[in-house]
Amino acid sequence: MSASTLAPLAESTATRVARNLLRSRELAIVIVLALIVLVATTRRSSFLLSADGWRDTLLAPSILLLLAVGQMVVVVTRNVDLSVGSTLGIAAYVTGKIFVANPDTPVIVVFLAGLGVGAVVGALNGLLVTVFRVPALVITLGTMYVLRGALTHEVGSERMNAQDFPAHFEKLGTQQVLTIPVLTIIALVVVAAVGYYLHTARGGRELYAIGSDPDAADLYGLPSARRVFGAFVLCGALAGLAGVFSAARYATAFSGTGSGIELQAVAAVVIGGVAIFGGSGTVWGAAIGAFLLVTINRALPILGISEFWQGAVVGALIIGSIVLDRVLSIRRTHKLIEARDHA
């Protein structure tokens, strides 16, 4: 029925892009982020304007950025990976072990090791989810505890500290190029690469298709299992990289490294406007969500809220963003129905 379809909008690309940008969820979060930074900076100018403040503002979110990007790719396929915190812990520990064995190891080797360890864990999750077709939530909840338990079993109460890491690696944690921390640059490159892939590449678009309707994607002949598997491998690899980042930034690794950070990763993704039931959202949104989350945590004490309420704020933000998403999607559906009825 041609009457029930909508005619393509007759407007130039420029106005369309501008309108989409103005209406986008990402812009809304950027505004919130800017407001928080502004208020915190007026309260205490060193929050952003001092050398340390500037560096922290950019550096602090770098670990969560990686996790959020990986998580976003999994969430968009209507799955979730709760084991990223344990993966991060394992990668951080492996990093420490490598340096204890040979302090002169080039940094690139450690990065590759982190990515590799993470990819193996991701592949394990991906296999369990795609071969046995069990809900990712339960599988990754299980692997999260199994991996954390295995790490604790291996590490015990051992704790790697600053003296275990060579100076050239620790320097990486604070090094800056043009005042921008190196770790943040790497994280942003990852954001850009994954974002570009998801936005333009066939494989990326297929991830959205699988997430928005898995059965339809199967019927259409998309290689669902392979794509979902790939998403888990990528998510794991980025979590592994985040583990190396964590070791570089905090110069420490112990059995509890990264525990609980999986919730923040999910929170960043949800706050960034990625639908928890898959099929919509952008990598940019997830990245901005991660920035917002970390910045809020840093700004709370300055805004006069005790740090002990941070957890509550994170929780309220998650629930608030899901509710907002729901309200927006209902409004959108109503509009589409109206448009159809008037066509």
Binding site: V80, L128, F132, R133, V134, P135, L137, V138, I139, L141, G142, T143, M144, Y145, V146, R148, G149, A150, T152, H153, L263, V266, A267, V270, I276, F277, S306, F308, W309, Q310, G311, A312, V313, V314, G315, A316, I318, I319, I322, V323, R326
Partner: protein, 364 residues
């Protein structure tokens, strides 16, 4: 062996493959029976091989530690059967334990009054989850990940870095005192009452049938007269209330409340429920299986502890059990579907006029 059949008004016979076996086999070849069997096997093995497992303290400590898990598993069973999930139970437990601690120790409120207030608070926290899930229509997974962080944050905000201790002597001892001369602590009395109550609610009431129907299909449940939203709301309120009760117990038992009280309990609860044969997709499960599932984890835990293993080994095994039980309940039926069908299917094809496809599948 005759196949019980039901004659439909139009004369066509409908067959029930499951009913073609004799009743005993039907009772024994269930997931629940397998879990109970595993529980008995592990228990007997531990009695014989683990030193001190047969001592008088084992059952006592085991019930003391796992009573809160078992309590929270009861409403969780009902929630998972409706196809939802509640990840926030451990945080609700933590928040209500914090409320109890602050009221009793810092404001000199008597324990029963504080407990009632804590349970009311827990019910409200559950109601908040329920409101978003049942009436706003949000996915329970996302909402309860949020409230997992939020309720834990409330507990942290309430008690901050302190460790609250010093509950009144009498109340502090009651939950862990023995019932008479037995080796069972007092907490098992309310636990047993709640097990029976939830068992009756799930298996012998209209409300309970509605829970299964919702799990099979929200929509068809709605059209057959089940109030889907209200049912879900009630279940989440129950979950909050029971978690709060468990929180009061945990606070009194340990005589202390900290921000990390009960962290990670949700995994044990969910592992117990899924191990007990409840389908994560909803629509299938039984309460006796869940009780056996939680007890299996409890017995494994204390056996491993007595064997000198650290808590991380128990963590690994619970994680593996969780993954294994979900794989088993989801993967085995698919494997079975690939095997040759049982001969019952060869019985007169159950063709119904409305669904021509049904005839083809039964002629294999």
């Amino acid at each position: 062996m005759s196949t019980p059949t039901l004659t439909k008004p139009d004369g066509a016979e409908r067959t029930y493959p499951a009913y073609s076996r004799n009743p005993l086999a039907r009772a024994l070849l269930t997931r629940e029976a397998a879990v109970i069997l595993a529980l008995v096997v592990v228990f007997i093995y531990s009695m014989g091989n683990i030193p001190f497992f047969d001592g008088p303290l084992t059952i006592f400590n085991l019930s003391k530690e796992y009573a809160p898990i078992l309590l929270m598993a009861l409403p969780m069973t009902l929630i998972i059967i409706t196809g939802e999930i509640d990840l926030s139970v451990a945080s609700t437990l933590g928040a209500s334990a914090a409320v109890t601690g602050v009221l009793v120790v810092e404001h000199d409120v008597s324990v029963p009054v504080a407990a009632i207030i804590a349970i009311v608070v827990g019910s409200l926290l559950g109601a908040l989850n329920g409101f978003f899930i049942a009436y706003v229509g949000l996915p329970s997974l996302a909402v309860t990940i949020g409230s997992l962080a939020l309720y834990r944050g409330l507990a942290e905000g309430l008690i901050q870095a302190k460790r609250i201790s010093g509950f009144p002597e009498g109340w502090q001892d009651w939950p862990t005192e023995r019932i008479g001369d037995t080796q069972y602590p007092n907490i098992l009395i309310p636990t047993a009452v709640l097990i029976v109550a939830f068992g009756v609610l799930l298996h012998f009431t209209r409300f309970g049938r509605g829970i299964f129907e919702i799990g099979l299909s929200d929509e068809s449940a709605h059209f057959s007269g089940v109030n889907v939203a209200r049912t879900k709301m009630i279940l989440f309120v129950l979950s909050g209330a029971v978690a709060a009760f468990a929180g009061v117990y945990v606070a009194l038992k340990a005589n202390s409340v900290a921000t990390d009280t009960g962290t990670g309990f949700e995994l044990k609860v969910i592992a117990g429920v899924l191990l007990g044969g409840v389908s994560i997709f909803g629509g299938r499960g039984a309460l006796h299986g869940v009780v056996a599932g939680v007890l299996l984890i409890a017995v494994l835990n204390s056996a491993l502890q007595l064997d000198g293993q650290g808590s991380e080994v128990i963590q690994i095994i619970i994680g593996l059990l969780l993954v294994g039980s979900v794989i088993a309940s989801n993967f085995l039926p698919r494997v079975r579907a690939l095997l040759p069908r049982r001969k019952v299917i060869d019985a007169p094809p159950s063709v119904t006029p409305q669904t021509p496809g049904a005839g083809e599948s039964s002629e294999r």
